[in-house]
């Protein structure tokens, strides 16, 4: 996927003025946010589980090589073909080759952000393969030629009216006078259309929420069951997962699963949690004939020895974006690449370079809500600040900004001079602004006063008044 991060500010402006998008985003506080709060309140040990989850992931990341090799051994023993991909291009090539070998005409896909990261759909389509997204949200996004705007709710930017219009436009073989006013009717229609694709698919591609070293299994969680149909009906099942998805044991998966759905949707558990280990065995009633796992690095191993190691704990629940006031204002597409919201603002610069994604770690007030809700306790604001440090060391953000900052810092480190300067500044501002109490316009503060007044200072500094007070003057 081609990043559009460099136009982040423009993307955000467009998003802020998109009434459909704003209507769709308005549902977040009463939806996913309220649901998570209720789920957390029902589980007294939720906060303890966050510590446990963090520790499991930290331990795994500290011995990642070991657990990956163990996973490979166990998966291979169960009949899996394990492929290692250092880059997105390598992963695409491996999957393309698997599809070619299977003589695939139709590929169904379960939800996978890694497949978005490596740009899999367009690669398969260029090779003449029909790709069908089977997660309802992903399907909606695909038929509109868009990308997911949220990692667990890909079509959260759409309203029901838009979906109805798309279905009428696309599903031409269905009666034009059918009723599509209820969500259940829309889901029913998608199911009907997708069912044929599940049955016709040659290869089914899914992501993985976890890989288990102890058993060589991959785990997916879904609410629609589409992942199960994708991976069990096609002749070939391909799992594409990034390397940090591995955990040591089934017990570890159980612990983290208690956090995942609660953090994501507020459910106790997702509707479907599916463990798969290798292809169909001789006496299995169903399942794929071949089972491949493509393990993607794409820059992650380089984060292991750095402060950004912590971002590899992420289990992709989406809680950070649900609770982010910036995400809630502009939606996911404005972030300009695969991963939106706070996790994207940390992960994207880590993977593609701060230079190419400098706006993202800056687009945060550091309000801390993301870290507060993160089930893996990733210190997202701290890591965004680290990206800002990198940006500053590379000469950013802009010449004008640096000049302003350096001038202020120079004064702030000379208290006597600083107090004289602030005294003059506040006297001048106070004299002009005191009668009305605020400025409608101020030079050098155009961004502020475009939208709101700038309160006038009282006219004298505290230090000045305090000195007089100490000298005996009444205030």
């Amino acid at each position: 996927m081609k990043p559009t991060i460099e136009s982040f500010k423009q993307n955000a402006r467009v998003a802020l003025h998109d009434p459909q998008l704003q209507r769709a985003l308005a549902g977040l506080p009463t939806g996913l946010v309220a649901n998570r709060a209720a789920a957390r309140a029902r589980l007294p040990e939720f906060e303890d589980l966050r510590d446990i989850g963090r520790d499991i992931k930290d331990h795994t990341l500290a011995h990642l090589d070991l657990y990956l090799e163990e996973y490979e051994r166990k998966a291979t023993a169960a009949g899996a073909h394990v492929h290692w991909a250092a880059t997105a291009a390598e992963a695409r090539e491996i999957i393309l080759q698997i599809c070619r070998d299977a003589d695939a005409k139709i590929v169904t896909k379960g939800k996978s952000m890694i497949s978005e990261e490596i740009g899999l759909n367009s690669a398969l389509e260029s090779a003449g393969i029909e790709v069908v997204e089977t997660d309802l949200g992903e399907y909606l996004v695909q038929i509109r030629g868009e990308t997911p705007s949220h990692i667990i709710a890909p079509a959260i930017h759409l309203t029901q009216d838009q979906v109805e219009a798309d279905f009428r436009r696309l599903h031409k073989n269905l009666p034009q006078d059918r009723v599509l006013t209820e969500p259940a009717q829309l889901v029913g229609e998608a199911r009907q259309v997708l069912r044929e694709k599940f049955l016709a698919a040659d290869v089914g591609i899914t992501g993985a929420n976890f890989l288990i070293a102890e058993t060589g299994s991959s785990v997916i969680v879904t609410n629609e069951g589409n992942g199960d149909l994708t991976q069990s009906l096609a002749r070939v099942h391909v799992v594409v997962a990034s390397i940090e998805k591995v955990v040591p044991t089934r017990e570890d998966v159980s612990s983290i699963l208690r956090l995942l759905a609660r953090s994501a949707t507020g459910q106790e558990f997702s509707t479907y949690t599916t463990f798969s280990t290798g292809p169909r065995r001789p006496d299995d009633p169903d399942g794929p004939q071949a089972y491949h796992v493509v393990l993607l690095d794409n820059g992650r191993s380089e984060l292991l020895g750095t402060a950004f190691r912590e971002v590899l704990r992420c289990i992709r629940c989406g809680a950070c974006m649900n609770h982010c006031p910036v995400y809630s204002a502009i939606g996911g597409h404005a972030y300009g690449w695969v991963y939106p919201g706070p996790i994207g603002s940390v992960l994207t610069p880590s993977l593609i370079g701060v230079k190419h994604a400098a706006d993202l770690p800056n687009a945060s007030t550091f309000c801390g809500r993301c870290e507060q809700v993160c089930p893996m306790k990733i210190p997202l604001p701290k890591l965004m600040r680290h990206h800002r440090e990198t940006e500053f060391s590379l000469g950013g953000p802009s010449h004008r900004y640096r000049l302003g900052l350096k001038t202020w810092a120079w004064f702030a480190q000379r208290p006597k001079l600083y107090h004289v300067a602030t005294r003059l500044a506040t006297a001048a501002l106070g004299a002009f602004g005191r009668r009305r109490g605020a400025f409608r316009r101020l030079p050098f503060a155009g961004g502020w006063t475009r939208h709101r007044d700038f309160p006038a200072p009282q006219g004298r500094t505290f230090q000045q008044l305090w000195a007089e007070h100490k000298a005996g003057a009444p205030r």
């Binding site: 500010k9 955000a12 402006r13 802020l16 506080p29 006031p325 910036v326 204002a329 502009i330 800056n362 687009a363 945060s364 007030t365 550091f366 309000c367 801390g368 809500r369 870290e371 507060q372 600040r385 990206h387 990198t390 940006e391 500053f392 060391s393 953000p397 900004y401 900052l405 350096k406 202020w408 810092a409 004064f411 702030a412 480190q413 208290p415 600083y418 107090h419 602030t422 500044a425 506040t426 005191r434 009668r435 109490g437 605020a438 503060a445 961004g447 502020w448 475009r450 939208h451 709101r452 007044d453 700038f454 309160p455 200072p457 009282q458 500094t461 505290f462 230090q463 008044l465 305090w466």
Partner: protein
């Protein structure tokens, strides 16, 4: 150490650059509240700003220089108290992180951090203040500023003290814990997104139907007051310390004289 004559704990007031520059009345309200709570208060002249603008812009060198300057300025006080959760959070949590690799200063930063408190939580949690002598006739709503809330756990303390203000009815707004969109340099770098955030905030404030909006951080207060003023809403905005100290003679933030 505590004052040898009175036995009162010695508090160094970290005024914060915004209170110093924009609204000294908040500083005097803080002094009054601290003295009422039995402290002897002093204001070191060698303080300027906590350094957050530099720290959050990735300029660690200047942020560390300001951290060292502030720590040095407040040597010898029992407590360092700031009328801001954001600045107190910077002093208490981020100075030790910022100076962790500085062998000369890391220990000092940790010892300093242990003495740092935000004003309202200091009054309640350290000084055991349960009520104030103040009066305000009207309905107020309280915004939980992010750093105070999430870094320092300030939530009940201001509400407890406000409940003792005669005549004041506290009406909670929806989403009082959601950021107002100020974020320091954020409001300058991303004015449009910041505006979308403060618009939601002022709508929630207005829906609570208050005469008065309160919070514990002047940055957030200036942002919300500026927006309310632009929207033409007649809601007064003040720092919570002003109401608790009964210091209401100055016009509210962005209010005309």
């Amino acid at each position: 150490m505590s004052d040898p004559f009175s036995g009162r704990p010695r508090v160094g007031l970290f005024v914060t650059c915004l209170v110093d520059l924009m609204r000294p009345s908040v500083g005097f309200a803080a002094v009054k509240l601290l003295e009422q709570a039995g402290c002897s208060v002093d204001v070191p002249a060698a303080q300027t700003c906590c350094g957050q603008p530099a720290y959050n812009s990735g300029d660690k060198a200047d942020a560390a220089a300001l951290a060292r300057q502030t720590i040095a300025a407040f040597e010898g006080y029992d407590y360092v108290v700031a009328p801001s959760g954001s600045c107190a959070g910077m002093l208490k949590l981020h100075y030790p992180a910022l100076l962790a690799d500085d062998p000369k200063w890391s220990g000092k930063a940790k010892a300093f951090a242990e003495r740092v408190y935000e004003l309202i939580s200091f009054l309640v949690d350290v000084r055991g203040v349960e009520a104030v002598e103040a009066e305000y006739q009207g309905r107020a709503t309280y915004h939980d500023s992010c750093s105070g809330l999430r870094e320092l756990g300030i939530k009940d303390q201001p509400r407890r003290l406000l409940s003792s203000v005669k005549g004041l009815e506290l009406k909670e707004m929806a989403d009082s814990e959601v950021c107002c969109g100020f974020g320091g340099t954020f409001a300058i770098k991303f004015p449009d997104i910041s505006n979308a955030m403060v618009e939601k905030k002022t709508a929630n404030v207005a829906a609570a139907g208050p005469n008065l909006l309160l919070a514990g951080d002047l940055g957030c207060l200036m942002n919300m007051a500026g927006k309310l003023k632009r929207e033409g809403r007649k809601i007064a905005v003040r720092h919570v310390a002003e109401v608790l100290a009964g210091e209401l003679s100055d016009p509210p933030i962005a209010g005309s004289k």
